[in-house]
Amino acid sequence: MTFTLVFLAIIMATVIGWLLRQTLNTEPWETNDPLENQPGRGVLRVDPAKIGLLSFIAVVTSLFGLFLSAYMMRMKLGDWAPLAEPKLLWVNSGLLVFASIAFQATRGAAKRAQLLTVKTGLLAGGVCTILFLLGQLVAWRQLNAAGYFMTSNPANSFFYILTAIHGLHLLGGMWVWARTTTRVLTGADAESVRLSVELCTVYWHYLLLVWVGLFALLLST
């Protein structure tokens, strides 16, 4: 559980630290708070949707952190036999990196209101992600063909479950991507999708980071 505990300690320290900064040196019973007429003191200066996404990312990190903690605890038991990761995973990782780069470019283009680049960027990002997901399915088939079944060893079970959960989160992102792309292709301007593109970009970078972490863990164990 060490991993999860460290992660949670960081999150809780951030949250509690921020909250404490809002609460120290205040005299709430005073009516004349010099800051009271500033709009919502203590409101973070970002769009609510971004706060929502960041909170969701914290939840997902907790989820993966707990899976990893379980992975490490289970690994120590006698019957663990590491599996040989298919080489295809390297290609898949590359695709996900490309997807992230495409989203990053789209984000810049949306800021500069370059509609054509936004369209191409979104399509490129989406295609790379779909290819990544298909690639993961192929990797599953390869493992199955090589005799690494889900139930034959806990290392295999964890491989399938971690890649599946990661893939499902990408699929969730693809829903927002599909809505945004449809809007752009049916005539919305770059400004109106800027926030959605930004949210997608952050989410894709995050899921890339999760994948890199997972892949590194799978390779090293």
């Binding site: 559980m1 999860t4 505990l5 949670l8 999150i11 809780m12 320290a13 949250v15 509690i16 909250l19 404490l20 809002q22 609460t23 205040t26 005299e27 709430p28 019973w29 005073e30 009516t31 004349n32 708070d33 800051l35 009271e36 007429n37 709009p39 919502g40 003191r41 203590g42 409101v43 973070l44 200066r45 970002v46 769009d47 609510p48 949707a49 706060i51 929502g52 909170s55 969701f56 914290a58 939840v59 997902v60 907790s62 989820l63 707990l66 899976f67 379980a70 605890m73 289970r74 038991l77 006698g78 019957d79 663990w80 889900m150 139930t151 806990p154 079970s157 479950i161 959960i165």
Partner: protein
């Protein structure tokens, strides 16, 4: 573009006005309607769990009497009772119910930040409840694994409901967590981003602090339950060995190898302990506001109350293994977790002292909500003290599997939060419905419930000291149990059934007052917080009419010396007629 807070661009925000009956009351995106939907569903499912506990008590009071209660039924009742009460009633009611109703009203906002997701949260919650209740109707019935669902027994034949029940239970939990996450992201974001002008974090009522911190805990802790539910489902359905060790069942060697049941326990309690505070923190917050309002006095040590909530939230993640002392853990671990458990008692005790000091020299109005709030201080202190007993490894080991533990957690996490639920429903009923409830029925409900629960749970501590084991269907002939213990069990059953029936008074009162209750004053308790200052009672869609309120003071300006009223609402501006606080009494 510089960032402009939501409260300052109110005119730009869409207000999704409902136009039809369906969008107004069924697929509603209004936080108040969603809150009531959550509340009614939670109370309904809670009543199912209450009936189950009555059936269990019948069996315990008069074993060998009721042929319709078999051991299988008994274990199914235990499991469903526990899980429903903790997750589907208390968590859903405090956060989905009170959280939804109070957050936008108390911070002076028109609604949640993501109303559509809020609506979705309720319907997904309802789906999880339906999946859960469906397990009563499948072959083999619901799971009887105990609410902690420990493997390997939870999924092995011999335990009730291993065909369908356990799968439905795990599926329902996963769906519930999805629903909770959608709601939780809303509560956190709304509190952070949608507060009215002047509503600094430190001017928020403590109810909101409790709900806020509990939501953060839920968002970070529920994934642990999700992870364990997914892995156990795979162990059951696919045959993986995450938790399942090499094991023989019914004379056959199963295909599982080398899994770790202790791993499940860690994951489960990593969720399970914060869950205690997910239920307790909103209760702490709500009860603080009830006490302050009905004692006409500012809450004692507001800042300390906030910091205590933060401290409890942080510490609640490092005490989980005190539920696992009997799992054979390393003694140093036990020492560590006993220490953290005793440390978390410090901020909790600070809160109890502050509640009592809020009452000290207050102008106490013994209204129905206040009675429940004061009763909470008793039951919570009582359950908290036995918690300190059990937090110590050496005391826990002999008591762990006895009725002492049952008494402890029912006092601290059953009775106490439920008293706050009742107090809060009575308190906000005039706001939610625009009608007053029947006060004498409310008082009858209070006294019968309060005395009744003590008649149930005080004797259970004694049974625990005798060593009467919990979870047993029947005690049989045992040398260590005197005849009096059996008689006590009968007395407890009579009290439990009595308390169960008494709740009908509450339900009758709530329903009949909807029609017959006198029209409520918009602010019947003369409270300061924003929800009582709405232009309409009950508040209409959008809450605030044309203009959002502006906040000029904290939530606890009660009995301010020199002011003509004994309360100053949060939206009353500071002006020379209202004396400033300069007496240094804070």
């Amino acid at each position: 573009m510089a960032y402009v807070a939501i409260a300052d661009r109110d005119h730009e925000v869409e207000h999704h006005d409902p136009t039809t009956f369906i969008t107004k009351y069924v697929w509603s995106q209004d936080h108040k309607v969603i809150a009531i939907q959550y509340g009614i569903t939670a109370v309904f499912v809670g009543l199912v769990a209450l009936v189950l506990s009555g059936l269990m008590r019948l069996q315990l009071g008069w074993p060998d009497t009721f042929s319709f209660i078999t051991p299988t039924d008994y274990y199914q009742f235990i499991t469903m009772h526990g899980m429903i009460m903790v997750i589907y009633l208390l968590t859903a009611l405090f956060l989905g119910g009170f959280g939804n109703y109070l957050i936008p009203l108390m911070i002076g906002s028109r609604d949640m930040v993501f109303p559509f997701m809020n609506m979705l949260s309720y319907w997904v919650y309802l789906l999880s409840v339906i999946i859960l209740l469906a397990s009563f109707f499948v072959p083999g019935g619901p799971t009887g694994a105990g609410w902690t669902l420990y493997p390997p027994q939870a999924i092995l034949p011999g335990t009730p409901g291993t065909d369908w029940g356990i799968v439905l239970m795990l599926g329902s939990l996963a769906v519930f967590i999805v629903a909770f996450t959608m709601g939780g992201l809303n509560y956190v974001t709304t509190i952070l981003q949608a507060r009215a002008r002047g509503m600094t974090l430190m001017r928020m009522p403590l109810s909101l602090w409790g709900i806020f911190m509990a939501t953060i805990l839920g968002l970070l802790a529920f994934p642990a339950l999700f992870v364990s539910a997914v892995m156990m489902t795979l162990d059951k359905a696919v045959g993986t060995s995450f938790f399942m060790p090499a094991i023989m069942s019914m004379g056959e060697t199963l295909e599982h190898t080398g899994g770790s049941p202790i791993l499940f326990q860690h994951l489960f309690w990593f969720f399970g302990h914060p869950e205690v505070y997910i239920v307790a923190l909103p209760a702490f917050g709500l009860v603080s506001d009830l006490l302050s309002t009905h004692a006409r006095k500012n809450i004692f040590g507001y800042r300390m109350m906030v910091w205590a909530i933060l401290a409890i939230g942080g510490l609640s993640f490092i005490v989980w293994a005190h539920h696992m002392y009997v799992s054979g853990m390393n003694p140093y671990f036990g020492f560590f977790f006993a220490t953290t458990t005793l440390i978390i008692a410090v901020p909790t005790a600070i809160k109890v002292y502050n509640w009592v000091l809020t009452l000290w020299q207050g102008n106490i109005h013994l209204t129905v909500p206040m009675l429940f709030a004061i009763a909470f201080i008793f039951t919570f202190t009582h359950g908290g003290l036995t918690g300190i007993f059990l937090g110590n490894v050496v005391v826990d080991l002999p008591l762990s599997d006895t009725y002492f533990v049952v008494a402890h957690f029912h006092m601290v996490m059953g009775v106490s939060p439920v008293l706050v639920v009742f107090g809060s429903i009575y308190h906000w009923y005039p706001k939610m419905t625009g009608r007053m409830f029947n006060q004498s029925l409310g008082k009858w409900h209070f006294w019968l419930t309060f005395i009744g629960v003590y008649l149930i749970y005080l004797p259970m501590h004694y049974l625990g000291f005798l060593g009467v084991p919990r979870r047993y269907f029947a005690m049989g002939d045992t040398a260590f149990m005197p005849e009096s213990a059996f008689e006590l069990n009968q007395a407890i059953t009579i009290s439990a059934l009595f308390v169960g029936v008494v709740q009908l008074i509450f339900i009758y009162n709530m329903i009949s007052s909807l029609k017959n209750g006198e029209k409520a004053d918009p602010n019947p308790w003369r409270a300061t917080t924003l929800e009582w200052q709405t232009p309409d009672n009950p508040p209409k869609h959008g809450n605030w009419g044309h203009d959002l309120p502006e906040v000029h003071r904290w939530a606890y300006d009660y009995s301010v010396p020199g002011y003509h009223d004994d309360f100053i609402p949060q939206n009353v501006p500071a002006n020379p007629d209202i004396p400033a606080h300069d007496d240094g009494s804070h």
